[in-house]
Symmetry: C2
């Protein structure tokens, strides 16, 4: 760690203020934190780590890194219908880390705390001999037994996604200069969709009691729907033309069918993919309007004895494009769940 | 990550079995885990990260790394009097990581789970571009409001430590060949004390209701007692000759007074330093006998208005050796809490 700051001073100055709302954090001065969960509630726990050069560029600004770290974890809670509450944070900081970087990172965390109503509970700081690595454990709350699992999908349920699919993959391709458009506004939109995930916390809370199963789209639409199918022991059929694509993405994929198909396997959208019985479709429309987020029916859950391929993608003629457990696996970009 | 394994296969094969005892882990197949805390109990949460080349040698064997990772976290729970229950784990794995390494690491975790009665709850796996980094969030349980804090020390309390102090520092110095003895048994003992921390979980549980404040000795005896003093707004006085030193350490420090003094600032002992009123001294003796661990009174808590230096160390003539908040700070070896 750079010699321009001392660890205790750093915690006291930049991180202790982030823990003020959680009395069990003891101002980050103790060995551990106390966490009281209200009777009748469960804690919901998720953990995601991000590494410089793997999940974000090594020169990414610290606020953006803080946002990403918090939001990828919030997205997991959203998929379970849990209300975010508190988090612990481990940082492995390269030697060259400056006070200015720490200040920016803490400022980013403060903004996320305000936006999502969460508070820092504790953590650990250590040196890294290599790149920056950050690990966050997010704890949410949920009423007893109501958590939305991956394993609850039933044959006949509709398959839905929130928002639009594939933007983040195109945003990353733009950053890496693998593709380009002549539309600066569209480019900026897609890059922002990659850099700043928008976890669907409000949608997730609204899906409690409506969705039979859910996951967040972090590995890619087909991969994450596949996780639901495996856990639920069912298959799914989705229709290419129904998968919602943003106007910005349309500019890129309209005349490029391979790129259009690749949107289904692009990760990092942090939208929700979920299943729900048809008798709640009106309630889903109300929820979509309340949250200002599209909830689009893209297919249905089918009998695995009839169609053993976990996820089938149908073109506009109802013809199966590519299918099977491993069908889209080769697009997998990274090893994170 | 090495191409000789797939992330999902790795989780299913090596890590899902570690989660079998915790139904809310859903076999590690969901986005998040559910954790029910019994009414009348609090969760106690701690997080520690360890990095290759910082906290252990880069070529350390995976079982030893697993042990260290679990135990440094258990030591934090022990200092609070919490009963260990479950943990989440984030791994950033270098490209060269092999299946054999993963198998050894998971085996190490399995042994710790058996020994300490804990179960894997969830986690994340990602690539590292540099060294191996591991981060663990440990969750324990405790009855309402009984947690031992750093902030509870009162003037007149005795200051105690468990076990012996300074072994780990000497063990590390032996590994780094900065010192040597001619006694192989003693050397092996000290090196093992560094490599395999022995968290004082049973002692911590027994200290509930007896200790007024506690911390684990991870940064060093003086530094960690200093944390208690700062949180409790008191000072402390410890007597050099009362600090328990192992027979193996005696061989090295008897004729080396500077080395002997440095034991007080050596980290990684993972013993407990705690304070307790004199009227529980008999109960502490019973606890020591029950646990088979020495609990030694090394000093007392004093009025900060009389002695503003947080921690004073007295020699056999009652003369103050070195004192003050920053007195031993220059010995600090690493930036982890």
């Amino acid at each position: 760690m750079s010699s321009d700051f001392d660890e205790f001073e750093m915690i006291e100055r930049y991180f202790a203020p982030l823990a003020e709302g959680e009395p069990g954090a003891f101002g980050l001065t103790d060995d551990a934190a106390a966490l009281a969960i209200d009777p009748g509630k469960h804690a919901v726990v998720t953990m995601d780590a991000i590494v410089a050069g793997v999940h974000f560029p090594v020169d990414e600004n610290p606020q953006t890194i803080a946002r990403r770290l918090v939001r990828v974890n919030l997205s997991d809670l959203a998929a379970k219908g849990a209300a975010p509450r508190t988090y612990t944070l481990a940082m492995a900081l390269p030697e060259a880390t400056t006070s200015a970087w720490i200040a920016g990172f803490a400022q980013g965390l403060a903004e996320e705390q305000d936006k999502f109503g969460i508070t820092l509970l504790g953590g650990d700081t250590t040196r890294s001999r290599g790149e920056l690595m950050l690990s966050l454990t997010m704890i949410g709350e949920i009423s007893d037994k109501s958590m939305i699992l991956r394993s609850g999908a039933n044959i006949g349920d509709g398959v839905y996604v929130s928002g639009t699919i594939g933007d983040a993959m195109l945003g990353l391709a733009l950053i890496e200069e693998k593709i380009n458009t002549s539309d600066e506004v569209a480019d900026a939109y897609l890059v922002d969709r990659y850099r700043t995930p928008n976890p669907r916390v409000e949608v997730g809370l609204g899906l409690l009691g409506l969705a039979s199963a859910a996951a967040d789209v972090s590995d890619g639409l087909v991969a994450d729907l596949n996780h639901i199918c495996r856990a639920s022991r069912v298959s799914a059929e989705i229709e290419l033309d129904r998968v919602p694509v943003s106007a910005a993405a349309q500019l890129l994929v309209t005349d490029n069918q391979p790129l259009r198909l690749s949107l289904f396997s692009g990760g990092d959208d942090y939208e929700l993919v979920f299943t729900a019985p048809d008798n709640v479709s009106e309630q889903l429309q109300v929820l979509a309007a309340q949250c200002g987020v599209g909830l689009t029916r893209i297919g249905r859950i089918i009998d695995p004895d009839v169609q053993p391929s976990a996820v089938s993608v149908l073109d506009s003629n109802g013809k199966q494009l590519e299918a099977g457990d491993g069908g889209y696996k080769h697009f997998h970009r990274r090893g994170s769940r």
